[in-house]
């Protein structure tokens, strides 16, 4: 028995125990420490698994769980392979840092028990999701993270006005509880779709196990392919789930509103981990569809990659443009998160569309996942610090004096540069890898939109940075935090994360190749192919050149636009009608929210009032008042037959006699 056999279990159970511990303690500090240390334990056990990355061997730790009358028994099993190990490490490490940060951020907030328990529970579920070896266990984690996300977005459930987001005034405000509900509903819509996809697959494959699914895919996929459209349906359903959880295009509308929660929540759930779950499951299912399409040769499986790529690029571009107009710092980051996840999806899609780009796309998007987790978590934490220190969620209202918050300023810039993709930060390498995969797979559209998105990314990042950290401290209002604004507990996590961005960026080339090696091994192991058709790894200078030049143009443009001319959204509208129109479109999020609102929400509301007002009421009246009414009416009629007149009574007798006589004698 090896310690690494237990590691995956310890990894996800430890935060669960931590969650229970936080419930027991009364002291807020103890709660924080309990939660963070339990996550620390997970991280350590995650680290213990790291050596297995290079073995290219899936470790499947199982125990019996659910025995159905048919199909393979579902196990309570952990699947430990390169993909899950890397994910586990990212998740547990980032979670740990964010929990440490939270001890500072949450120190004066209400509802700490709730917060810590849910954060620990979330971490546990996220780790379970990643480690699960079958769909059911995975889906349990998947739903649990959604639920924790709901609860944490609604942390300020009392809807005090200072926690409202949205606005400023011409635009509507939204209350945290509404935002939480929106997030829950939108993601759950995806979850339902995903569950039906999973069930659809089970009906044909009779198993939930990822490994068995892959190994037996030729048989059941062929069976499934016999009814055309079914594979496509299962793909669409699964990807709807992905879109919901990862805030991708059709179901991306919830993430901006999810920013109503406290900053650590946004950092952990809505930037670093939960929204990556979608990417994870796409990566997990990648070999399955890859195998089906390229090796078994079922054409329908290609849709998987096409849809993933399409969703990715659409989201990346749409949300990046939305970020340009956003006024809340966390919303900008949220848009940016969606956009970056779009990159990851794009990479995975491109990886499947062409065999040449497979390794590059896959490892690129994984690398991007890693680097995004690092810099976005750091960014959110600094955003939290900014909001905490200025007391405003808007970038245009108040800003920090960078002279007084030098460390934050520095770390934020590191992360932002990584986000923009400036060399030598980690974002540069990963984004380039994704773009390279797009180009390699011949998807020019993907590539060009990706570049365009990089351009927009640079615009909004610089805009944000300019607004947040202004030298002229005229608007800075510390709100009582005028001294010692940078506490070590707050700054250290940000520093570690952005430092890691920098380090990975510096070691970028090596890191990139390391990832390629790992995932090459992983994919060839998963697909059981000794001679894997490995394409030439793109070493062209075209990609870095083009991306760097795009970024350069963008930064110059944004410098002039935002810094020099100090374009605010007000004078923007005044100046240029085209920009004004664009601004309007972006500000209204391409009218997608409004469209959903009018199509789905309104229709549900009108159907429900129609059903209640017309159908139900009329049925109710008919059956519960009408039928008894008929009986009462009949009762009245029958009672009026009881005249009390003896003559009439005798007449009845005569009639009865006559009728009986006639019937009996005739009939």
């Amino acid at each position: 028995m090896n310690i690494t056999d237990f590691a995956p279990w310890i990894c996800w159970i430890s935060p669960l125990i931590g969650a229970l511990l936080t419930l027991l303690s009364r002291d807020n500090t103890v709660k924080g420490v309990a939660a963070s240390s339990s996550v620390l334990v997970s991280w350590i056990s995650a680290l213990l698994m790291v050596p297995m990355v290079s073995t290219n061997q899936a470790l499947n730790v199982k125990s019996g769980w659910i025995y159905l009358p048919e199909g393979e028994p579902t196990s309570l099993g952990m699947l430990v392979d390169s993909l899950s190990i890397i994910m586990v490490n990212i998740v547990s490490f980032v979670s740990f840092l964010i929990l440490v940060y939270s001890t500072w951020y949450m120190r004066r907030e209400d509802g700490q028990t709730r917060f810590w328990a849910l954060m620990s529970l979330f971490t546990s579920s996220m780790l379970l999701l990643v480690l699960a070896d079958n769909f059911i266990l995975f889906f349990i984690g998947w739903k649990m993270v959604g639920l924790c996300s709901f609860a944490l977005i609604g942390h300020y459930y009392r809807d005090e006005e200072r926690y409202w987001i949205g606005g400023p005034p011409p635009s509507p405000f939204q209350k945290p509880s509404t935002c939480a509900l929106k997030a829950l509903l939108v993601t759950s819509f995806g979850d339902v779709a995903m569950l039906s996809g999973i069930i659809l697959i089970f009906v044909y494959s009779k198993t939930f196990n990822f490994v068995t699914l892959l190994n037996s895919s030729p048989e059941w996929m062929l069976k499934m392919a016999q009814s055309p459209g079914l594979i496509l349906a299962s793909i669409i359903l699964l990807l709807l789930g992905v879109a919901g959880k990862s805030a991708q295009f059709p179901l991306h509308i919830w993430l901006p509103e999810a920013m109503a929660g406290p900053a650590p929540v946004s950092a952990l759930i809505h930037a670093a981990t939960m929204v990556k779950a979608g990417v994870y499951i796409v990566a997990r299912l990648f070999p399955l569809y890859y195998n089906t399409y390229w090796i078994v040769g079922i054409q329908e499986a290609r849709f998987f990659f096409q849809i993933v790529a399409f969703l990715g690029v659409a989201t990346a571009f749409l949300t990046a443009t939305e970020a340009v107009t956003a006024l809340e710092i966390k919303k900008i980051l949220a848009y940016s998160t969606m956009s970056q996840i779009g990159y990851m999806m794009m990479g995975l899609g491109a990886a499947g569309l062409s065999q040449e780009a497979t390794i590059a796309g896959y490892s690129g998007s994984m690398l991007h996942l890693l680097s995004h987790a690092l810099f976005k978590a750091a960014l959110f934490m600094s955003a939290g610090a900014v909001i905490h220190l200025t007391g405003s969620i808007y970038i245009h209202e108040k800003s920090l004096d960078k002279r007084r918050t030098r460390l934050i300023w520095f770390f934020t810039w590191v992360s932002v540069l990584s986000l923009i993709g400036v060399p030598p930060f980690s974002g540069f390498w990963s984004k380039d890898e994704v773009l390279a995969a797009c180009l390699e797979s011949g998807q020019i559209l993907l590539f060009s939109l990706g570049l365009l998105t990089a351009f927009v990314t640079c615009l909004y990042s610089i805009r944000m940075m300019y607004h947040v950290f202004r030298v002229d401290a005229k608007v800075h209002d510390g709100g009582g935090h005028t001294h010692s604004e940078e506490e070590p507990v707050m700054v250290a996590p940000i520093g570690v994360l952005s430092g890691l961005s920098l380090i990975i960026g510096i070691l970028g080339y090596w890191f990139k190749n390391l990832f390629k090696e790992i995932f090459h091994g992983f994919l060839s192991m998963s697909l059981r192919l000794e001679t894997y058709p490995r394409g030439e790894w793109v070493e062209s200078t075209l990609i870095p050149l083009s991306s760097i030049s795009v970024i350069a143009i963008a930064s110059v443009a944004s410098y002039f636009y935002y810094v020099k001319y100090r374009a605010d959204y007000v004078n923007l509208i005044v100046r240029n009608p085209i920009l004004e129109k664009l601004h309007k479109v972006f500000w209204n999020r391409w009218y997608i929210d409004k469209f959903y609102e009018s199509v789905f929400v309104r229709s549900i509301l009108s159907v429900r009032s129609g059903i209640q007002g017309k159908l139900e009421t009329s049925m109710d009246v008919l059956l519960n008042i009408g039928v008894p009414g008929i009986f009462s009416r009949m009762s009245q009629i029958l009672r009026s037959m009881q005249t009390g007149l003896l003559s009439v009574n005798m007449l009845y007798v005569l009639i009865f006699l006559a009728v009986m006589m006639i019937f009996l004698l005739v009939g």
Binding site: F631, S635, L638, R639, Q642, M650, L664
Partner: protein
């Protein structure tokens, strides 16, 4: 030849009026009452001793053979069932009357009439001749006329009595006319003779006419729709003890007599081909239940419910098979106790509150919990709630109708029990409601009223939980009735 128990009953009925010469005026009621209790009890005891062997046989033969409808033993009398019901109801009514009738005068006559009534029923049950049947029938009728109109100073009572008497005696005349027609066809009125004569002759329409006349005549007493019109008035206006007694046994004796005569006539007429009877049964159910829905007078509501119950019993008659008749007799038996309790309780409310109006009974359950719970049990049994006896007989009626392939009869039974729940529950609701102000000074009914109520309630529960004895009784009675006139 009269049975000893019948002689006892007669004897008591004759003795009773003379008691006032012996006992002083203010004790006369108690004395009558005790005497009548002694009378009924002794009749019961002697009867039981008389038929102990038969009862033992019945109970031994509980175990059904492989054929559940097989005739168990050709029992030589169907009177046991009717006797038990009539006599126990008589006993209960006498006990009940002790307190209930305390304000009335002329009680020796009252008890005497009660005895006469029971005597009529008993004689009717044990007669093997149409005319004997008719004579006892008239005995029963005449005594019941006087019982209904017993409170002669009340106009309601008199009015109801007149309507009842005129309709019922018109019915009696009709029966007599029917008998003459039977005599016309067969030349005899003896069951056996009629049966053998009918076997010999071919089709004769007169026999159908006779059947109709008997149906109408007995039907008036049985309250077939639309011949029922006297019934709500009579039950409402009669003293509650008499309502209970009449509803329990007098009315359904008409049905019993009808079954008996039809059984004899069935040698010439195929009874179960007369689908009109099943139509009548459905009409009765629906009429009784629907008309009861809006009543605001408790006793009148119960009276309508009796009409509905007659409809249920008619199901068994209309299918005219052994299970059918068994079911009818079973329901007759169970219904007697159910209605007895219901009317007793209604009487207890009248006794305490002085009103029959439901609207004035709000919250009576709070002050008279014992009476109320008995009433609720009887009403639930009326609806057909297991494990009370009403359920057993309704179930068996249903089984019987199904056995003859008349599912629609069974279904209308089900629908009717749902409709009937409408007004039974209304009663329950009123009783359980919060106390109204006039209830403050009320208290539980006196023990002399509660005891007979609970004695009958015990039957309701007991025969629901353990229906076998009455079941075997009903079955042997039915098989006997169906074989009336044979050899």
């Amino acid at each position: 030849m009269f049975t000893p128990s019948l002689i006892i009953i007669f004897a008591f009925s004759i003795v009773m009026p003379f008691i006032k010469f012996i006992v002083s005026t203010h004790k006369i009621h108690l004395a009558c009452n005790i005497l009548s209790i002694i009378g009924f009890s002794s009749a019961l005891i002697i009867f039981s001793l008389d038929i102990l062997e038969k009862i033992r046989l019945v109970l031994q033969n509980i175990l059904p053979s492989s054929n559940p409808y097989g005739i168990i033993s050709a029992f030589d009398s169907s009177e046991i069932l009717i006797f038990l019901v009539a006599n126990s109801l008589g006993l209960l009514t006498s006990i009940y009357s002790l307190k209930y009738m305390e304000r009335d005068s002329g009680l020796p006559i009252y008890y005497s009439l009660l005895f006469l009534n029971v005597a009529g029923i008993l004689g009717l049950a044990s007669s093997y001749d149409f005319f004997t049947l008719f004579v006892f029938w008239e005995l029963m009728c005449v005594s019941s006329y006087m019982l209904v109109a017993f409170r002669k100073s009340e106009s309601e009572s008199i009015e109801a009595g007149i309507k009842y008497t005129i309709m019922s005696s018109a019915g009696s005349a009709t029966i007599l006319f029917g008998l003459t027609l039977i005599y016309t066809v067969t030349g005899t009125l003896n069951f056996q003779g009629v049966a053998s004569a009918l076997k010999a002759i071919s089709f004769n329409p007169l026999i159908y006419v006779a059947l109709v006349f008997l149906l109408v005549g007995f039907g008036i007493k049985t309250a077939l729709f639309p011949l029922h019109t006297w019934l709500p008035d009579a039950y409402m206006a009669a003293p509650s003890s008499i309502s209970a007694f009449m509803s329990g046994i007098v009315t359904v004796t008409g049905l019993y007599a009808m079954i008996r005569s039809f059984s004899v006539l069935s040698y010439a007429v195929d009874i179960h081909s007369i689908w009109l009877i099943s139509v009548l049964s459905v009409l009765n159910m629906f009429f009784g239940n629907i008309a009861a829905l809006l009543q605001d007078d408790l006793k009148r509501m119960l009276a309508y419910s009796s009409i509905a119950h007659v409809g249920y019993m008619l199901i068994g008659v209309s299918v005219w098979t052994l299970p059918g008749i068994t079911a009818s007799l079973l329901h007759l038996f169970n219904h007697a106790f159910i209605k007895c309790v219901s009317f007793f309780c209604a009487g207890a409310f009248v006794y305490r509150l002085g009103t029959r109006k439901l609207a004035e009974m709000h919250g009576v359950g709070r002050v008279m919990p014992l009476t109320t719970s008995a009433l609720i049990i009887s009403l639930l049994s009326s609806i057909g709630m297991p494990p009370l006896n009403g359920f057993i007989s309704k179930l068996y009626l249903f089984l019987a109708s199904m056995n003859s392939g008349m599912l629609w009869l069974g279904l209308s039974l089900v629908i009717n029990s749902a409709i009937s729940a409408g007004y039974y529950l209304r009663i329950i609701r009123v009783l359980m409601a919060p106390k109204s102000e006039n209830m403050e000074k009320m208290k539980e009914a006196p023990i002399q009223i509660v005891v007979p109520i609970y004695a009958a309630t015990v039957f309701i529960i007991f025969f629901g939980l353990y229906p076998d004895p009455v079941f075997s009784l009903a079955q042997s009675a039915a098989s006997h009735i169906l074989s009336l006139g044979e050899g």
